[in-house]
Amino acid sequence: MGFKALGLETYPAACAQEASHILRTLTREHDDYAIIYIEENLAAEMSHEIDRFKDSPTPAIILIPGREGSLGLGQNALRSAVERAVGTNILGD
């Protein structure tokens, strides 16, 4: 809610289904969004929707921790990218 005051556009979603629906409309109908931030607790259940955009330059879908604090999904994305590139996890965590 606070992000709205910063001038970002916010789309509230109560569940992952709603969120993926919003994500689809945002990415399909108007492609002028460069970055989409999604709360981790919503993103956890729609990872395949998010993975679709991994290899395209736009939009960047970034997971942010929700009200409950970090779930570690964002760190996971980092780890999986490293694993993908190097073939093994070399970060040591």
Binding site: M1, G2, A5, L6, G7, K54, P65, A81, R84, A85
Partner: protein, 217 residues
């Protein structure tokens, strides 16, 4: 390894030699590309890790402040205060080329440059905790933007590295050995043919000599 479908002629041999040369050069280039991509990637990963931690901490703090604000103010008041933003953000995106991977760069511009403009409400009816929450959010937002850039860069680089690595391996372990095997096969076959011709000539010479002079070795 040698493919039996190839015809053992000099022309094919020359073609294969040319292809082997190209494959070797391609392999070297791709290997260099992979190494450089990897170096860049590790930088990006390190930066990403840093930012991720920073953003997560910042957001948690901001949400905590917001929680406090919502405890003090009534939900209606809070909603009303944040309902209509005074600030708006314009995001400009350009692309930067890292080793032929186009990665996005973001530059954002806020409509109002005055830092106090993030508060879309009057101060009379809102609590100070809300100001606090918004200020924290505003600070963390800059990092979030960079995080988006870095994270996307990381994903795109990871994809490219994976592709390049596959190509390098395909060249190194499949293409080049196969070409080498074929070349060996052809040159051996050619040598064999040559030997056969030589032996045949010797034999013919012997026969001719015998015919002409009734000469026997």
């Amino acid at each position: 390894m040698a493919n039996t479908a190839i015809t053992p002629t000099r022309m094919v041999l020359n073609q294969l030699k040319g292809r082997l040369k190209t494959a070797r050069r391609g392999h070297k280039l791709l290997k260099d590309k992979r190494d450089e991509l990897m170096r860049q990637f590790m930088d990006v990963v390190r930066r990403n890790k840093e930012l991720r931690t920073k953003v997560e901490e910042g957001l948690t703090a901001a949400f905590a402040s917001q929680q406090v604000a919502s405890a003090i103010m009534s939900p209606e008041m809070l909603e009303q205060a944040l309902l209509y933003p005074r600030q708006s953000v314009e995001l400009e995106m350009s692309f930067k080329n890292i080793m032929s991977v186009n990665v996005p760069r973001y530059r954002f511009q806020t409509k109002n440059n005055d830092p106090t403009e993030i508060y879309p409400y009057g101060f009379a009816q809102t609590s100070g905790e809300l100001d606090d929450a918004l200020e924290k959010l505003d600070l963390v937002f800059r990092d979030m933007l960079e995080l988006a850039e870095v994270e996307k860069t990381m994903q795109l680089l990871a994809e490219e590295i994976e592709k390049t690595r596959r190509r390098v391996n395909a060249l190194e372990y499949v293409m080049i050995p196969e070409l080498e095997g074929n070349i060996k096969y052809i040159s051996m076959k050619l040598e064999e043919n040559e030997n056969a011709t030589k032996v045949r000539l010797l034999k013919v010479k012997e026969m001719v000599l015998q015919d002409a002079h009734h000469y026997k070795q």
